[in-house]
Symmetry: none
Subunit: 81 residues, 2 copies
């Protein structure tokens, strides 16, 4: 179980954060059509900069796990979509 972010490792912080969030999604902690923690929250919770949080969410979009609605937030994708 990954649950914290390491600074001096081979894996970029934003990838580590994306992996953590993917775990939280697949574990059912973050539910379909429910919002991901906001960028601000991720910054506070994991001690990263906003750009890093944004890139992590971008990775999740690329992995087709979440979708972002401008000005509304980023949400977990339902399984059938």
């Amino acid at each position: 179980m990954i649950d914290s972010i390491e600074a001096d490792g081979p894996v970029p912080k934003y990838v580590q954060l994306a992996d953590i969030l993917e775990q939280r999604i697949t574990a059912g902690e973050l539910l379909p059509n429910k919002p991901l923690p906001s960028e601000k929250f991720l910054m506070a919770e994991y001690g990263v900069a906003r750009g890093t949080a944004r890139r992590a969410v971008e990775v999740l979009r690329d992995r087709d796990l979440v979708f972002t609605v401008p000005q509304r937030g980023t949400f977990v994708k339902p399984k059938d979509s």
Copy 2:
């Protein structure tokens, strides 16, 4: 006396604005329990974006000079508090 905001200096705009407002408080221009200029007003008066105005007010809160009441405004703290 600081009274205008410079763009390309070493001091961030939001800190410059916080310094200006602190001066206006200590000079007695902005009185205890009276409202600070609203974010909208600060944007117009100093030519900054809303985020910059908000961050300046945040700095003043950190300096314990003002307190904010949601949906009401931000007010100068009385000396004895």
